[in-house]
């Protein structure tokens, strides 16, 4: 189960056709860039969830 959470951000950041576009922009930053930048903290969150599931990080 924890591996599912770890693999999701990996798939998202490699799924180039998903984000290889300019629109929609955020604060006039093209989608390509803000999507990847937002994905960084999201990936950290997924790792945190994986750690919770594992329950070993006490």
């Amino acid at each position: 189960m924890k591996y599912v959470f770890l693999i999701i951000p990996c798939i998202l950041c490699l799924w180039v056709p998903l984000y290889n576009r300019l629109e929609p922009t955020l604060w006039s930053i093209p989608f390509f860039y803000w999507f990847l930048l937002v994905l960084v903290p999201v990936s950290a969150l997924f790792i945190w969830i994986a750690a919770r599931i594992e329950g070993s990080d006490s």
Binding site: L22, P41, S58
Partner: protein, 508 residues
């Protein structure tokens, strides 16, 4: 030589440099240990908690070269340079899963390097040597590139010189670095990393707030950059604000390959093994992405340089010039000091990692099997000096392009030890001999693929798609290792037990 020196910026730069020099020497007394033992000198006694490890690894992995090179690539070709972001996203799930296991077995068995683990697991001196050799070979150009990063900012301060004199400031900085690394070991970069990382954060936050405000916002920045790429596209294909179809598969495979290679480097392992436990490593896997975010923001500086009208022949000068143009002199000095100090931390950790590896996995098994701990520590200290001098010689007497090419190859080489290390954390199904043959095939194939007609190239075209050479060679490596393992079963000794890889049960 110093006629064009920016005095304000230089004064700030030197003051900050002096501060970290003092820290580097003071560090010897921090978390005091017997520095005549290798695990104390070269791993800080394995006493770095989650917080120190965070600063050390962050300072270690996100180097001065990165701060210069990533935005330089964005400046030159646009979106493709952003591969650094998926690359650094991929690293941490991988670290979270594998590195606690490596720490556990290393702690249990007293391993100091990756090659130590390889010998313990597979009982193969040949494979141990291959892993050690790969690590040391790939580290040298990496240290050299830290110097390139330093040199760029020293030039931007206005220092010019002829011949060897042009390298004088760099040489002085490096001698200082060599001395306190010799004295304090891994404690020095760990302590300096605090200062360096905070400075880099200040630099980046200021840059992403102040520069867009002066240039009319992000909309104007991307518009200006888009125009530059559109003008370039006529002459050179594959530039732009998004990836061209031909860039997609190289972008993906480069991100995957770079992520797999990073934690195979001796300096990354040194950072991991110096942590105080598997929990500290897992917490770092969750929190180190903060640096990836910073790296992504740094990459945006490449676009800002276009909007600011920076035109440089060498893309690597784009960021120093942008900083000079957009910030007051004192803050430019601060930013340049952040980048230069940012070179010191990885250079120190890399030289320590390479020195540990040489001492434990080349010298001890093949030259002096009965080394005392004092001898080990002494030799590692000496090697850390020799490695740095080697890197300095590369910079002084070889074209920078050579170091860049070697660094590119370094990743291709490093990834070839991935099967031995990572598969070894889970299974002993592969034999040492098979992994050694696989490593040799991958090493040769990867180097051969990178040998372009005019220059070294990182990707090749396979089946109509571009792919990172390191990954292509890795596929061959694993295929060969699998076949040979099927044919010839291993009978060598494995000194590890399955329980050694699991977290130790805390005494309840």
């Amino acid at each position: 030589m110093i006629d064009n020196l920016n005095w304000t910026a230089t004064a700030v730069f030197i003051a900050l440099f002096a501060l970290v020099t003092v820290l580097g020497f003071v560090a010897a007394r921090w978390k005091a240990g017997n520095l005549d033992e290798l695990h104390e000198w070269g791993l800080g006694g394995r006493r770095f908690g989650a917080w120190i490890t965070w600063f050390l690894l962050g300072g270690d992995l996100y180097t001065a070269y990165t701060v210069i090179a990533v935005p330089a690539l964005v400046y030159a070709i646009g979106a493709y340079g952003f591969f650094a972001v998926p690359y650094t996203i991929l690293i941490y799930p991988l670290v979270f899963v594998t590195m606690p296991r490596l720490w556990n077995v290393a702690h249990k068995k007293g391993y100091i390097t990756g090659a130590d683990f390889i010998y313990g697991r597979y009982g193969s001196k040949g494979l141990e040597l291959a892993v050690a050799f790969t690590g040391i070979l790939a580290t040298m150009p990496y240290i050299a590139l830290q110097l390139v990063g330093m040199e760029k900012v020293i030039q931007a301060l206005g220092f010019q010189g002829q011949g060897l004199m042009s390298h004088a400031p760099l040489t002085i900085a490096f001698v200082i670095l060599a001395l306190y690394t010799y004295k304090s070991g891994l404690r020095a970069p760990a302590m300096i990393a605090f200062v360096k990382d905070i400075m880099i954060y200040v630099f980046v936050i200021a840059a992403v707030v102040i520069i867009p405000a002066q240039l009319g916002g992000y909309g104007a920045i991307f518009e200006a950059a888009g125009k530059v790429y559109a003008a370039k596209a006529a002459a050179t294909p594959n530039v732009g604000l998004t990836l061209t179809p031909a860039q997609v598969s190289p972008f993906i495979t480069l991100a995957i390959g770079s992520a797999m290679a990073l934690f195979m480097y001796p300096h990354s392992m040194t950072g991991v093994l110096s942590a105080s436990g598997p929990g500290a490593i897992r917490r770092n896997a969750m929190t180190l992405p903060a640096y990836s975010l910073v790296l992504g923001l740094i990459a945006l500086l490449g676009f800002m340089a276009h909007a600011a009208g920076i035109q440089v022949a060498n893309p690597q000068d784009a960021i120093p010039q942008l900083v000079l143009k957009m910030f007051p002199a004192w803050f430019a000095g601060f930013c340049f000091a952040a980048i230069a100090i940012g070179a010191l931390v990885p250079a120190a950790v890399m030289s320590i990692g390479a020195a540990n590896t040489f001492t434990r996995n080349v010298w001890r098994p093949f030259v002096e099997p009965g080394m005392s701990p004092q001898r080990e520590s002494y030799l590692a200290k000496l090697m850390s000096l020799i490695v740095k001098v080697g890197a300095l010689v590369v910079i002084l007497f070889m074209p920078t392009k050579f170091a860049l090419d070697l660094q590119l190859l370094g990743g291709v080489w490093m990834i070839q030890i991935f099967p031995a290390i990572v598969l070894g954390l889970y299974t002993r199904w592969y034999s040492g001999t098979a992994l050694l043959i696989g490593w040799a095939v991958g090493f040769v194939l990867g180097t051969w693929l990178s040998w372009g007609p005019a220059a070294w190239v990182p990707t090749s075209v396979i089946g109509g798609f571009g792919a990172y050479n390191g990954l292509i060679a890795l596929a061959a490596n694993v295929a060969v290792a699998t076949v040979v393992s099927l044919v010839a079963r291993s009978v060598a000794r494995d000194e590890t037990a399955p329980a050694d890889f699991e977290d130790a049960r805390s005494p309840a």
